[in-house]
Subunit: 418 residues, 2 copies
């Protein structure tokens, strides 16, 4: 019998306990041994919980118990979770987590610690909720050199963008609704500013390219500035707006970013709606493969945690974690040196003059017909594929033109097809 301790009895932690109890028979059969939750750590009181007999507020009840061999960390954050994870690994206890923040921040150190103590540190649930992606990327596509990963990795922002598109809602309204429906947290910053997606693409890239990709180096832009008008323009372009996280290996370096993009409706990611996530992987042998499903939620995420626990028990005694080399030199291409097409909307007081000046600046742009609601005060265009630094320069010049009152939007146009 394998005894598991769960640290943190929140949404995911309680889901883990629930799944192990509910599917106990089939789980034990697949793992080859019975798996039992022996202890749950949480500082809160749960007097009515069915698990109250095994709940404890004292971490020593877990770390001093030699019969507990696997620790599930579903606390979140990088303070207590970090300390507990180090303590467990040092004691030779396997650790499974859904904590993307901790993996993206301290992954290399924790993986090294796991290796030194001959235990596993697994985190399938940290990306894509219940969608199997980390193990398929590492194991099933092991014969491939991975070229690129492009995905919708955050369910909250995808839900908000879907609502804005379908109901014509403003961002703030859609966000409030997402919060009301439990799809966004009270403090939604990590989701709407793209930080969550950033950590996830950092983890996927580190596995795909077999070297640590530091999330702090990834250019990240959220969706707070997207307006219903932007979405209507995208529709006129037979496209839709999505928060896309991407990374691509180019001549030994990695190009990676998180940003809203205008993406053609024929692209497989364009049809991914609501809280669903999808990840497109391109490998040299397999070509393109896509993984799609619920990217968050109690049971989907908990099921990914439990799958990692089963994996450890099934291959008991064997361990073979990831080895994230931390390169001394920088391995991420500076965003200023990357190229994109940009969709730009500006408010003008003189349309003809504005048109002239913009054509002088950019040399070549594709003009879009402004929406009727814009009352003729808008100029809308798409640039050619230009360097980020040039795009920034030119946009500054545009904003300084006398005839331009305001730059209303700049959104990348996604033209990457793996």
């Amino acid at each position: 019998m394998i005894n598991v301790a769960v640290l943190g009895y929140g949404v995911v932690g309680s889901g883990v306990v629930e799944i192990i109890r509910k599917n106990s028979l089939s789980i034990s059969k697949k793992a080859g041994k019975q798996i039992t939750v022996k202890r749950i750590l949480d500082i809160r009181d749960f007097p009515d919980s069915p698990d109250k007999d095994i709940l404890t507020k004292n971490a020593d009840d877990i770390f001093n118990d030699p019969d507990i061999n696997v620790v599930v960390e579903t606390i979140g954050g990088i303070t207590a979770a970090y300390e507990f994870t180090k303590r467990a690994l040092t004691q030779g206890k396997h650790v499974v987590t859904s904590n993307k923040e901790l993996v993206a921040t301290h992954g290399p150190e924790l993986l090294k610690l796991a290796r030194e103590n001959r235990v596993n540190y697994l985190f399938e649930a940290s990306v894509g909720g219940g969608i199997p992606i980390i193990r398929p990327l590492n194991r099933c596509l092991a014969a491939n050199e991975i070229r690129s990963i492009v995905g919708i990795l955050n369910g909250t922002t995808n839900y908000i963008l879907t609502q804005m598109k379908k109901e014509g809602k403003e961002f703030d309204v859609a966000l409030k609704e997402a919060q009301k429906n439990g799809y966004a947290e009270a403090d939604p910053t990590a989701d709407i500013e793209g930080h969550d997606a950033c950590r996830k693409i950092a983890i996927l890239s580190s596995i795909a390219y077999d070297e640590f990709v530091d999330y702090k180096k990834i250019y990240t832009e959220g969706i707070t500035k997207i307006t219903p008008s932007d979405i209507m323009y995208a529709e006129k372009m037979n496209s839709t707006i999505k928060l896309i996280a991407m990374s691509e290996k180019l001549n030994g370096m990695i190009e990676t970013r998180v940003s809203p993009v205008i993406i053609e409706n024929t692209h497989p990611l364009a049809g991914v709606e609501d809280v669903f996530n999808a990840i497109l992987v391109n490998g040299d042998a397999i070509g393109e493969a896509m993984f799609y499903g619920r990217g968050a939620g109690k049971l989907p995420t908990a099921s990914a945690v439990v799958a990692d626990v089963i994996e450890i028990v099934k291959h008991w005694g064997s361990f073979g974690g990831y080895n994230w080399n931390v390169k001394e030199e920088n391995n991420v291409i500076d965003i200023m040196e990357t190229e994109s097409k940009f969709f730009v909307r500006v408010k003008v007081n003189d349309k003809d003059k504005g048109t002239n000046e913009i054509e002088k600046l950019y040399q070549k742009v594709e003009w879009l017909k402004p929406l009727e609601a814009a009352n003729g005060e808008e100029l809308v265009f798409i640039t050619e594929c230009i360097l980020e630094k040039d795009a920034k320069d030119m946009l500054k010049k545009v904003s300084q033109l006398d005839c331009v009152e305001e730059v209303l939007s700049t959104i990348r146009v996604f033209d990457y097809r793996p």
Copy 2:
């Protein structure tokens, strides 16, 4: 160092050798040991092959070599492949295959033989080409009770149906083109009659429900009778025609079939085009997850084979294959006892009389407006959800009506949403 022998130097076999050579460094790193192809068995001559030094026509060169620990079987079929697989497993050599026919036919026996000899018999490449599906189903979704699997599992038929839809081609023309482009074999029977998809859904179901599902018990219908007119009717229904393989666990029994269906364009499988495959899995914890990619082809399939080899080497000494219980009692629901909606087209000589008689027979049908090209000689309707045996009975009665000249089409309408 691990020495591999490849049996069969055809499309997939030569792809395996190519990938192991090309990605040698990263493969060895991931496996933890160097992997080398020591021998290739094929009865044909390949005087110009870069592998001619390790090619042999004598199986003893492989089976009498104790240094060969892993055998890749890419011969296909169930005669020589079956004998060689038994011989390898009995000798304690691990076997990896892409041979769906052999797995679907002799899976339980070969898995038992592998267990008895403490080796692995792995077959990720047998379903979905390079798409990781078997391991994710077994491992990553291990914490789930799988409820259903619905998929497009055959690239050839999906290519043909896509061509028929996009170019308005007749089936025969689209098939010839598929053969010309290398997407269909000279004898296309196994693909176009649904046998290939049938074996694949049998394998997936056996893994998902942890009991052997005999492909011979699965109702299978191909796409040879589908016409451009059927596809145009489907389009009028905002739908498309796809060859769908499905299985669902219902009260301990399995409902499963392979057949063309009319499927709504909003369904995630409707947009899967050309030679791509996609598999929708529904589990009690994860909800719906989809896996999408190239379902066939030399390198995608070979990459799945090599991933299995890496898996074996990485967990050397550990084995933990599938255990397909063969139930004594029947575990597949008789197709006659299953329910579907049917799309029916009949050629009539008297429209009013036909309408009357059909309404009398079916009580309730939904009438569709015939295409103009039908010259008013057609009646087209969709039945309610009815038992297969009743559908058969009624269709027989329809065909015997004086006013009916011919039943032109009957196609299931897919209304299953996981």
